[in-house]
Symmetry: C2
Subunit: 199 residues, 2 copies
Amino acid sequence: MPNHVEPLENLIDQFARFPGVGRKGATRMAYEVMAMSNEQAMELAKAIEHAKTGLHRCRLCQDYTEGELCKICLSSKRDRSCICVVESPRDIQSIERTHEYNGLYHVLHGLISPMDGIGADQLCVKELLARLNSDIVKEVIMATSPTVEGEATAMYLAKLIKPLGIKTTRLAYGLPVGSSLEYADETTIYRAMQGRGEL
Amino acid sequence: MPNHVEPLENLIDQFARFPGVGRKGATRMAYEVMAMSNEQAMELAKAIEHAKTGLHRCRLCQDYTEGELCKICLSSKRDRSCICVVESPRDIQSIERTHEYNGLYHVLHGLISPMDGIGADQLCVKELLARLNSDIVKEVIMATSPTVEGEATAMYLAKLIKPLGIKTTRLAYGLPVGSSLEYADETTIYRAMQGRGEL
């Protein structure tokens, strides 16, 4: 029921485009914008414009950056023999937070999903393969999500990369730290059992 | 940990200002903006600007409108003898959806909340009192939320309005339709008992 005045209805439509934001949430956000000061609202609008115009993909890893190359690709402290393949730039932040990985990254910007009509050609796969043409890279770590699409994408890439003589690995499956065995699903427990290590 | 590039970090900060949107949700939204086409992102930014510049408060009821007066205040089909007082413009939509109310509205744009330092002078109370100076208004319905702040605001306004000889009413308390008695809190049950009606 579009009972709202047009500019408000339009703003609700715009917010409702975000995945995970329903009609109710979008309405709430739109009214929040209306309750903001003019300056605050303009700052928000400008931040959107600025992020879109000021950022683009790193020539190497495809993460968002202001320069031609991102900080990680530019860093001399990084191990350039290892590339960790992720679905989205967000995942880089998650892995960086562990302070455990010192290699480079490669963002696919999606996963192969035939159901949604997304094939390998719509992802940054050729950019990844181009990076493997040198002798520097010794290992590619698949860090896609443990979902059907994440699995399929990792398998697909492994098939392309292995013939190049590069080690291809996958993040381990198992029980999430701090979780209870009681709530773990069978597949996770099965995988944790298979991947069990000596104490 | 502001690991993101600056324009992205700024956008996340902006989204995180929305109540109910945490840091994680804001990050998700910011990356969503990055994944949008340039046109889509600009549409979103423009919608925010347009809603803020194209809308202002109705001279009478203080709801958002493009003109001087909103549609409801302009309508000749509305009963001008009754004013329903609400906290925010959103609440008007909720009440309109019932198709049960045919009077006018008045938006306070907040509730009295001494804890947050919000007094009656920061709300649209004087605009409400100005509307009551004519002889047309016979009833003012308090439709603020059944919270401490909503209660306090309704009581405060009732004290101001009653001396003007205008009937002041309050939305009924009781069990929400479709709910289970099992999950209702004692206060609600107590109120439902007090307000019980004959069958």
